[in-house]
Every structure is written in C-alpha cells, then in structure tokens.
C-alpha cells in the first residue's frame, strides 16, 4: 500500500531557478526508501516540500491517497501527526534554552487529544520521557539536562526520540548521520533500523552516502541537478542498466 505519493512536484527558489524539477515517486507503508544525491541537488528542499514546511509551485502530494498539497494549517493537522522529520544537525534541531524533556514532549502535547499510542503509554510526563529515552538507548537522567551538555550522538538520539514520540507513520531522515563521527553514525543507523521494525515506521532516508543508504533501504532513488534520474530496488544496485550517474556514485563507495 502506498503511504506517500509524489506526482510531478516542482519547486522554484527564485523566479527562474528550479530547485526540484518534476519529481514523482511513491513510498510504500513500512518501507525504507533511500534518496541519494550530492549537496545542492534539491533533496533537502524536496523533503521540506513534502512536509509542507515550504510551499510548492506545482505537482501534488498524496498522503494515504489524500491530496495534501493545498491544505491549510488546520486541515493539515491530522497529517502532521503522521509525519516527522529528523534533521542533519541535532544542535540546531534542539532548542538550546529548553531542557531535553521539554523538547521531547513538545509534539506529544500538541497532538495529545488525537493520539492513540500503541507502543508507548502516557501516564505522566516523567514516565513518558523516560520511555522515550529508553527507546533510543539513552540514560533517563538526560531528561533534565540542556542540549549543550550532551554529545552529538546523544543529541541526535534525542531528536529521534522526539520524532517517534507520537508514533508517526513516516519519518523523513534528512542526512541524520552527516554531522556525527564514524562510530556514532553506525550506532544511530542500527538504532533507526531497529526502531523501524518495532514501531512499524516508514522512512524516507535522505543521504549522500550510498553505502549507508544501500544498507538501510529496500529501494533507492537517485537525484541529480533537481531531477530524479534513477530508481531501483537495492538488490539491483549493481545492474548494468543503472544510470551513468548511479554508476559514478557506486564507484566512489
């Protein structure tokens, strides 16, 4: 079943400069879909567009077969609780003035009334935060610290915990490991794979690291200069029919 379908999505960042050029793809439920491309190819803009943080210029976005590209803030609300994002830089993605627990609880407070959680259960804020931190393998006493007291890997785990706190359908991972060192990268990727299975999540995994993407994802999209140039199942990665740009990427890793 298709969870997210993008049709001919186009976005200009200036009147004549295109950022995303007629991109179409779909994402199945429970799947991890990789989106690979070098910096400036429009992959992050695409992510922001389909989360409706940025307006799009043409095309359509279907979430669970419902067109959401023109919905206003209030009508978008039910979809917001099914989509979450994890950004590249966890330092910027956490409010430095808020304690970890306050950042963590933010989405939950927002969607409290509509939520029916199956994996986590809310009895009190402290207990809930503790569950979340446990789920991302962090000690519970981090809840009362500020982000600057945490390491980069810990911070990224906190943003992941925030994303899974409302048990969304889809998490957009925008280069979640790019700002981490090698060993934390590995650990975070392993954690993400485990969480996907236990919480039955779908991922759109955006990265320039083809090696990591091919380990995480079942299907891969390749983007170059604002266009989608290739899409295939991961086991067909080394096929001869791959786009020349995909082959170039393969030769790097």
């Amino acid at each position: 079943m298709s969870l997210l379908t993008i049709k001919e999505l186009t976005k200009f960042y200036q009147a004549d400069k295109v950022a995303v050029d007629h991109v179409s793809f779909h994402l199945n439920k429970g799947e991890c879909l990789g989106l690979v491309g070098e910096s400036g190819c429009g992959k992050s803009t695409l992510a922001r567009c389909l989360l409706r943080i940025e307006p799009i210029d043409s095309g359509s976005i279907f979430f669970e077969n419902e067109a959401i590209e023109n919905l206003h803030a209030r009508n978008l609300f039910p979809y917001r609780k099914k989509m979450q994002i994890v950004f590249q830089n966890p330092t910027a993605a956490l409010n430095p003035k808020l304690k970890v627990k306050d950042s963590l609880i933010d989405p939950f407070i927002q969607f409290k009334k509509e939520l029916s959680l199956s994996h986590f259960s809310y009895t009190s804020t402290d207990a809930f935060v503790k569950q979340l931190l446990e789920a991302v393998e962090l000690p519970a006493d981090l809840a009362h610290k500020y982000p600057h007291e945490l390491s980069g890997g810990q911070r990224q785990r906190v943003t992941i915990a925030r994303a899974i706190s409302i048990e969304p359908e889809l998490i957009v991972l925008d280069e979640p490991t790019a700002s981490l060192d090698v060993i934390s990268q590995k650990a975070v990727l392993t954690l993400l794979t485990e969480l996907r299975e236990t919480l039955n999540l779908s991922y759109l995994f955006i990265s320039h690291d083809l090696a990591a993407v091919s380990q995480m994802c079942q299907r891969i999209l390749v983007m170059k200069e604002c266009r989608l140039v290739d899409q295939f199942n991961t086991d067909r990665l080394f096929d001869n029919e791959r786009h020349s740009y995909t082959k170039e990427l393969i030769s790097i890793f």
Partner: protein, 282 residues
Amino acid sequence: MMNGLTLRLPKLKRLSWRGIAALIGLIIILIVVIYTFVFLRHDPNLTNLDERLQNMSIQHPFGTDQLGRDVLTRLLLGAQQTIGYSLLALFAAIIIGVPFGLIAGYKRGVIDRVFMRVGDGFLAFPDTIVAIVLSGLLGPGIGNLVLAIIMIKWVSYARLVRSTVLSESQKEYVLVARTNGLSPSKIIRKHILPHIVGHVLVLASLDLGKIILLISAFSYIGLGVQPPTPEWGAMLNESRPYFQSRPELMIYPGLAIVAVVLLTNMAGDYLRDHFDVKKEVQ
C-alpha cells in the same frame, strides 16, 4: 560524578562578587526609597528660610539647602523621581518594542519592512533633540520627557527582538515545531521567548543607567522635573549658586546619580554573563 562537577563549576563562578554587589546595592536603594515613601520625616517642599544652608545636624543629617529644606529627604525623594520615571520610560519602551519586534521578525515581508522603516525614522533623531523639540512643542515637564525617551528607546528593543527572532526562526527546531503543527503564537511563546528574555534584560539594565542620566541632565537644564519637586538633576541645578560655599549640596545628588548608574551597569554586565548560554557551550 566528575561530569556533574565540571558542569556546575562555571555556574558557581558566574555569581561573581561584582554581580552580587550590584544586585545587593540596587536592592538596598530600592528598600531605602520605599522606606522614605512610607516614613517621611520632613516635608521636602517646606521652605524654612531661618534654617537655610545649615550644616549637618541630628535634625538634618545632610544639612539643609538654600530654602531651608532637608537635603536627605529631598535626596531620597529625588531617587523616587529619577529612578521611578526612568523605570516607567524603560518599561513602556519594552512593552512597545518587544511586540513590534516579535511580529516584524516572525511575519517578515511587508509588515517587517514597514515596522522597521518606522523604527529607522525614530532612530534618525538623536534623543536629546527629540526631547528638546517635544518640550518646545508641549512645554517642559517630566511627562513630555518620559514620552520623548519612550519614543527613542522602543526602537532599539524592537530591533533587538527582531534580529533574535529572525535568526532563531531559521533554526531547525522551529521547523520541527512547525511540522508538529504548533501555531505561530505557541512557537513564539515556547521556543523563541526564552531566547529574547535574556537579551532584553541585559539591554534594559544597561539602558536604565543611560535613561537616569538623561532625565537628570534634562532636569538640570530645566526641561525635566519642575521645581519644587525634588529630583537629582534639578537639585544639582538649584545648588549651583552655592557651589563655592556649600559644595556638598552638589556632591550629594551627583554621587547619588553616579552610584545608581554604576550599579545598573554592573547589574547589566552580570546579567549579560548570566544569560550567555553560548559561552557555556564552547
């Protein structure tokens, strides 16, 4: 264990003796001012020409002035005028400036441009000129002076808040809040206001000193508080003819101004260090 220690140390250090001294000093001044308000011993405006220009005595600890009024009483009541009106001007400027800055920074676009051009217009006039022109138009008086100060000062708060909002609302945690469907007012309240409070407090405490000086200066040249109301600047002015024979009449209010301005600046420095989380991070 070690971790906790190293993290807590800088916080202890930041409670420096200067910060403590400034805060204690300000609190003492406030208590004294309130005390005089409640337990007044002399009528500050009661002229008694028999007792004019007296030296220190138990009856008049700081002596009397050229009209036989008790200097200590006038000094303390002057504090009420100077500090009181300064705080009034400051709060009004903050109350006008902060919302302007918030709206301009968060909405951006046309609203931002209009707000900021209006602000630039106000900023184009030097504060003294605005005050003099206003007094010229509306007549001298403390009310007009406070109005002039508000008109000049609100802009700097609006600009400060706007720049903070602009830089913070670009950050990804605000984007995350938006994907979670938080309304703009909620985002401002939960995510952006904590960043602003520190900045505004610091600027305010530094501004307080400047405003006190401004009010005193204008009262000194007769455009602020009008006699016979006691005010430090005005007192300086009134004692000017007796500068040779009774210099302490000028020294008391002068010292009072210096002390209060110094204390507010110290408090400002202290607050700046206190709210500077960034320094802690690096």
